[in-house]
Structure formats: structure tokens, C-alpha cells
Symmetry: C2
Subunit: 478 residues, 2 copies
């Protein structure tokens, strides 16, 4: 297929591609020209091999990403909230050769072993005359993002152009496509919910309204005043927006609040229903290149609490004891479709475990009702979802166990009014002299702030099953 951004710039050169909340806009032609120029500048220092981007949501980040596609360079997206240690590990695991970062991150990122350049530095280079890609190889890797698992060590999910294309098309077939659509991004572009909107923008010819981060006043204002029609949210941001909305109503042109990133409390959905907020529940993950199961607007009220049905082109099964579960019987959620990743980068064992006969075994639990609507009972039992970020207990436990004096460690999620859930840790230590301050300081050096346990409890033993496996679900009884 011809390069998507090139096609779009030819088709709709003057249409708005990006609108920033400071009022700046970029047309598709401008975006393409800037991406091409940046690609030629970047080609002075990088021509092939994996490249990482470390940035908050900015136009520069979008330009840098599209530039990579013109160089046929896969982009590894790093979470800005991680520590240097975590960035280093992810860069190593993904074979990153060069890292591009927003200027604000250069001081921290410079300590990485890879070559590191700021966007500003690249802008100073003289463009080369390298030939840029005119076509897209649909089966090649476009982007990589890290997700963790029960083993603790994060895995790089490979997302192909075909994955992103299929996701954008399937989403349009479900949500529809209006000439007036404008999609607000306030979730990070280094998460799939943010990134996937960039592909929709170029494939649909639709403007994105880009915010550097979620700020409820600004988002509220944009929905009320800036003709935004769709926004992607997670439960926490949805809750805050509804509070900010109060007794008011959104404009009728605002047609979809796409809710993903974890389970939504029924009370939240009820509140949204009362205020006529057009919430569209969905279920998806990094491995499915964003939503793969979505609740139709037509069924939204009738099936409150359901994540919906598979998008067109994708399939869903509930597997229990190696067979398809009956209606209303809980089992593992298993999905298939052209938006599902081909696997984790260089993780043979994890791939064998997660992918069987073309199906992705998500590890999440759910059931189908008589009409085939999915109800997610629980994300994989050990997953903590805090403000839309996934936190894997095993990763925190690994750090705790590496701290001198800690013999055993167990981490679980606890309810939190603001973030939905926060991690709390239970440890068994070899002496009573070790302090929680010491352990938490140790964690702070090695873990992103949102992963550092909010409470630390000392115990004499942790709940384990007969084989000695930690029973995290029992931790709260300690």
C-alpha cells in the first residue's frame, strides 16, 4: 500500500491533521512535509534498526514518529514515567540503537547506553538526500510498546502496520465515521489508546485535538467549545470529567466517550447514563492494537456493564478447561483478528504461552451472556490498574526481593478513590531493623512513581499454596 500519510496529504492536503490546545494547527500536507524533512535530518544519525521515542504528547513527537515510518524504522515507545533503570532495560530488550526524546527528557536520558538525541538537536541537522519510503510494507513492525505479565519482566509487543490498519478500519465500521469527527487525545501517545488515534487521523482524514496530558478543566473546555466529537478515556478520567460536568450537558455533536483501559464501576456508567454522556465501553490491550471488543451505541443502555461484541473482522471465545464456555460461564477471554499482534519481541516462551492456533489468550476472565455480549469479570487476577496505567505485581516484587534484608514480597492492588487502585506491598524481612522508609526509597530509585507501593506492611509470612506459590488474592487478609 502507498504510504498512508502521503496518500492522505494528496487527498486532503488542506484538512487539519493536528490541533493543539494552544491553537496551533497542522494540515496533513504540513504534517507530511515536516515528517519527511525530519526523516531526512534524522537519517544523518540513524538509517536502520530500532529507534525509541521518549516524549509527552507533542506535535514534535507525532512528526518524529511519522518520520520513522518514512525511514522504515520501527519505533519503540517508552513510558515517560519510568525510571532510568526501566528505560535502560526496555531499550536493551527491544534492541534499541538510538533514542529520540523531547528536550525536557534529555538530562535524564543522556545516561542511557544508547545514542540519545533531542528533537531539537535533530532539527539542526542538514537533511540528507536519502530516498524515503513511498510504500508501506503492511506486515512489517511499525511500533513496539511494553507490557508486563505474570513473570514481571516487561515484554515488547510488536504492532505491524496491518495491525494498526485493521484496528482503524474495524473501529470505523463500529463507531461510524462522520465528516465532522474530531478525536481528542489526552491519554499518552506512548500507550496504544493514544497512538491508535494517530492512525485513525491519517486513515480517516480526521483531525486530532492533542493535549499534552489529561487536565480535566482543559478537556472539559475542549468538549464544550472545540467541536470535539470523540474522546478516549479510562475510568478515572471519565469519573473526573463527569464530576466536572456537574449538572450541565455536553453538546449534542459530542458523540462518543470511548471507555477502555480496565473495568468501569457500574455507578460510573449509571451516572453517565443520567447525564446523557455517550459512553461506549470497550475492551482491548496493547496486544490488540487498542479496542477489539466494543459495545455499540445501540446496545449501550440495554447492556450496561458489558464490554460489547467483537469488532467486525475479529472473533472472541471464552475458554474454560480447554473447551468453549457456556453462556454466563466465566473463563479466559481469548481473541483473534487482524489487529492482534504477531507476538512479543524475542520472547519465544511468552509467545508460545499466549498464542495458540491464531488465538491470543489474554489471561483476563469474563463471560458471554445469551446474546454474546462480553462481560469482563476481572483483568488477569494479579493486574493492578491505577489511573489507566497497568501495574504488574511481579515487577514490583522483583525489586523488593532485590533489596537487602527482604526475604519474601507480595504486591496487590487496593481500592483508591482517585486512581481506582494503587499497589500495596507485604514483605517478610530478616531483621526488625529494616525500615519501610529504606525499602520505599530503594523502590523509588528503580520503579516509576506510580508503581512504588503506597503502603508497605511487614508480616511474618505470606499466604502460599501447597506448592509454595504466592496467593496474591489472599494478601489483603494478612
Amino acid at each position: 500500500m502507498e504510504h498512508w500519510l502521503t496518500m492522505r496529504a494528496n487527498l486532503s492536503p488542506g484538512s487539519t491533521a493536528i490541533e493543539l490546545d494552544n491553537g496551533d494547527t497542522y494540515t496533513f500536507l504540513q504534517l507530511k512535509q515536516k515528517a519527511e524533512r525530519f526523516a531526512l535530518q534524522l537519517s544523518n544519525v540513524h538509517q536502520q534498526g530500532h529507534l525509541a521515542i521518549l516524549s509527552d504528547n507533542t506535535a514534535d513527537m507525532i512528526i518524529a514518529f511519522w518520520a520513522c515510518t518514512y525511514l522504515k524504522v520501527p519505533t519503540v515507545f517508552l513510558n515517560t514515567r519510568l525510571t532510568l533503570t526501566e528505560w535502560q532495560q526496555q531499550c536493551d530488550d527491544a534492541d534499541v540503537q538510538l533514542l529520540l526524546c523531547a528536550d525536557g527528557y534529555i538530562v535524564g536520558a543522556e545516561h542511557l547506553q544508547q545514542s540519545v538525541y533531542s528533537f531539537s538537536h535533530i532539527h539542526t541537522l542538514t537533511p540528507t538526500d536519502k530516498a524515503l519510503a513511498s510504500m508501506i510494507d503492511m506486515d512489517s513492525v511499525c511500533s513496539m510498546m511494553f507490557t508486563s505479565g505474570t513473570t514481571g519482566r516487561a515484554k515488547a509487543v510488536m504492532q505491524s502496520f496491518q495491525n494498526h490498519w485493521s484496528s482503524a478500519v474495524a473501529s470505523a465500521l463500529n463507531l461510524g465515521l462522520m465528516p465532522t469527527d474530531k478525536w481528542l487525545i489526552c491519554l499518552p501517545l506512548f500507550h496504544i489508546s493514544g497512538l491508535s488515534t494517530l492512525f485513525k487521523s491519517v486513515i480517516y482524514g480526521m483531525p486530532v485535538y492533542l493535549m499534552e496530558r489529561f487536565e480535566e478543566d482543559k478537556v472539559h473546555h475542549a468538549i464544550m467549545e472545540k467541536q470535539v466529537t470523540i474522546i478516549s478515556v479510562v475510568a478515572v478520567t471519565c469519573e473526573r470529567l463527569l464530576q466536572r460536568l456537574g449538572e450541565a450537558n455536553y453538546p449534542t455533536s459530542f458523540r462518543c466517550m470511548l471507555l477502555g483501559g480496565g473495568p468501569a464501576p457500574k455507578s460510573l456508567l449509571e451516572k453517565a447514563k443520567q447525564r446523557h454522556v455517550p459512553i461506549v465501553q470497550s475492551y482491548g490491550m496493547t496486544e490488540t492494537s487498542s479496542q477489539i471488543i466494543t459495545l455499540n451505541a445501540a446496545d449501550a443502555l440495554r447492556k450496561l456493564g458489558s464490554a460489547g461484541k467483537p469488532l467486525f473482522t475479529s472473533s472472541l471465545q471464552i475458554i474454560k478447561d480447554n473447551r468453549e464456555a457456556l453462556s454466563n460461564e466465566v473463563g479466559e477471554i481469548v481473541v483473534k483478528g487482524p489487529m492482534v499482534t504477531n507476538g512479543y519481541y524475542q520472547r519465544v516462551e511468552a509467545n508460545q504461552k499466549a498464542f495458540r492456533d491464531g488465538w491470543l489468550y489474554t489471561g483476563d476472565l469474563g463471560y458471554l451472556d445469551e446474546e454474546g455480549f462480553l462481560f469482563v469479570v476481572d483483568r488477569r487476577s494479579d493486574l493492578i490498574i491505577s489511573g489507566g496505567e497497568n501495574i504488574y505485581p511481579a515487577e514490583i516484587e522483583d525489586v523488593l526481593l532485590s533489596c537487602d534484608g527482604v526475604l519474601e514480597a507480595g504486591v496487590t492492588g487496593m481500592k483508591d478513590e482517585k486512581w481506582g487502585q494503587v499497589p500495596v506491598a507485604f514483605v517478610v524481612c530478616d531483621s526488625e531493623q529494616i525500615t519501610s522508609e529504606h525499602i520505599l526509597a530503594y523502590c523509588q530509585e528503580r520503579l516509576a512513581a506510580f508503581k512504588v507501593p503506597k503502603r508497605l506492611m511487614f508480616c511474618s509470612q505470606l499466604p502460599r499454596n501447597a506448592t509454595g506459590k504466592l496467593q496474591r488474592y489472599k494478601l489483603k487478609e494478612c
Copy 2:
């Protein structure tokens, strides 16, 4: 990919798939169930090999077509207006083993050498327990339709599932997709403009409003009263609808009159503009599985007369003397994209001529303006378009030349108020005793009525170039 109709019936079982103008409706679940049942009944007499359908637009025809997809049987669509001789030739050329027809055609079709069954007969059979297809092989041939060329003998265009899928997706990316969409079909389903809407219906989850044929009062009424949002038309039907509309206006929910099937007179477009009729001009053909170039609504008035730009995923070039033409320079229209056929069935030579490096050489003439908008100057010079039907002079000339006493024959199109164009013939005969009545009667036995020359002129010689090639464009000077 899972079977589209199965997926759709699972996703939107209760949504309307087909609405007939007698008020009958079929949901997607009903359509799927009826198609599956018909497939199992049909499997008594046909399990594999090409099958032809001969029918006007009815729900039975749609059910029979989807039934074939459940049997993985490619469907050859026959034009109901052809003669028995033409049907026989097309069935033979496409290796048709069995023909299904609407009850009204059984008397004529029974003379074919193939097995022939009416829909009603199949309905009387006991369903077998054959396993139906649960998946679609995207690269396999879904449908075949005949189109002619300069050689006179019609060629079967092979349309794969991938072609139809890509066409439906690209159309949605351009025209948008509203939850309220309802597409009226009044063009024959045996033409690609009709058939392509069936795929859109199932892929989008959108109702089609099906009419057996174009009748301006009924179509007008449906647009005014039946919440139709989109209709496909050709210039002749568009003209008649505008006349019927008079000084009235269509409802604002009516958002697209998709105009294809040949050039549109500028006066027609001006008239539509005055009456605020949302005409969307397009260019396409059987080989491109319907529109491949379409004018955006946003550019409709600014670029009146243009066919637009390529749909997303497709590409367009103007080739003159084996090079890309400059802006505003007329050359051959050459297109590429996933909706373009892989070729003509068993026509090696024609395929070599039409397809080069993945591009389809259409034989039509046009140019691109400075902004890349296509203006079609002329369909391939010898093509006559009469009421939306393509007529190829060579085919008529072949028949004329086979008539005793006719030495030379040339056919060209002449303007006609009602049909746009009609065919007229010029012949050189070996005696003055042969009458035009005799020759026309001979044609009527062998050619569909719309192909029979409306006038016949006797000449002493036909205009030919130095090599003796007929110069059809000079015929009018005879």
C-alpha cells in the same frame, strides 16, 4: 476472515439488512438463516464449480448469492436484458455448470445447455447436511461479471472477496458511515454498482432499500419518505430524478447521490447544484469493483465536472506515450488498488494488455488538474453508454458482419435525449436488395434490445486509416 454475513448476523442480528418497497424487511439474522438454508438446498444439485444467477433485483437473488458464498461457489452474474445467444456464450466462456434464475426467466433460460433451476424449485428441495463455509478465503473469486472491450467478445471480470472488501472499506473512508445510513439500490444487482452495495450492507451493518428496477416515482417517493440517505445513480436516472424533484428539495438526511457509470453533462451537475442535491461524482468500472475515484463532498462544488481523487488505498496515473502526463495533459487513465480485479477469466492476451506492473490500463482518457483532481475526457473512444449500460461497437459489428450480404460494418454512438447515447450502424453491402429491416431483425435475434442499432445507414465505404483500421470517430461524417 470469518464469513462476513455470519459475523454481521452475530453482531447485529436484529438490524434490518434488506427493505423492499412492498414493505417486507429481512434482518441480518434472517438473511443469514435463509442463505444458509438455501445453500443446503442448493447443495443437492450443485456443490462446486461456477454458478450463474439470472434475476432482477429481488430478495431471493440476494439470498441465492450469499448461499453461493456459503458453498464457496463463485457466482457469475448475467444481464437479464441479453438474448439467449449471449447468455449461452457467457455461460460457456465462464465455465458455468449450473444456472439459477428468477421464476420469470425459466422459460427462456431452459434452452441453455447448462443445468437450469428456478429459485422456487430449489426452495422445494430438502436441505442436505453439508458443512457450510465458516471462513472466507479473501483471495478467492467471489463473483464474475462480463464486460466487453475493443475486441467485441465480452470478458468475465473476476472479483475476489478482497476486491469487494477493499471497495467497501475505501468507500466508507471517503463517504463516511452514519448509523442512520440506508442505501437505495435501483440499479441492477448484476452490475457492480448494485452488487457492491450488498457487501457494504453486510460489512457496515447497513440496510439496503431494494427496488426491482428504476422507476422514478418510486425512487422519488423512497428518498422523500423512507429515510434513504444514499443512492447510486447513472446520468440518465439522475436527470429523471431531478426532473421529478422539480422545485422541491430532498430531506436534509439524504446525504449522497453517488453518480457513476459514465460522464455527466455539466448542465446536469449545475441543475443538481441549484437544487442542493448532494451529488457525489465518481469513476469506476466492473474491473475496479465499483468506484475507485470519487469527488469529496467538500470539493463537489469547487471541482464541478471532476470525478475526484483516488479512494484511500488506491492510486491513479495518467499515462501518455509511456510516461506520466503533465497536469492538464490528456492521457490514458491508469489505476491501482486492492479493489482492482486480478484479471479476466481465461483471457491471457486481454490480461497482458490491460495489466502492467500492477496497474490497470482502463483505455479511458482523462487528465489531472494542478491539484490532482481527475477529469474524465472520454470513456474509451469506442464505448457507447446508453442509460448506464455499456455498449461496445465491436460486439455489434461482429453480429452485423455475420449477416449474409454485409461486407463492412461500423458502429458508433449518437446523442439521445432520453438515454444519453444510442448505437447507430453504418454498413457496406454487396447488393442493393438487402434491407435495413432484414439486418435489424437479424440483430434483434442476437443482441439485447439496447444494443440493437437505432439507425442503420448504407454507405459505399467506411472511413479507415492507412492500415485499414476502422476509424469509428469519423463514422458520423459518413
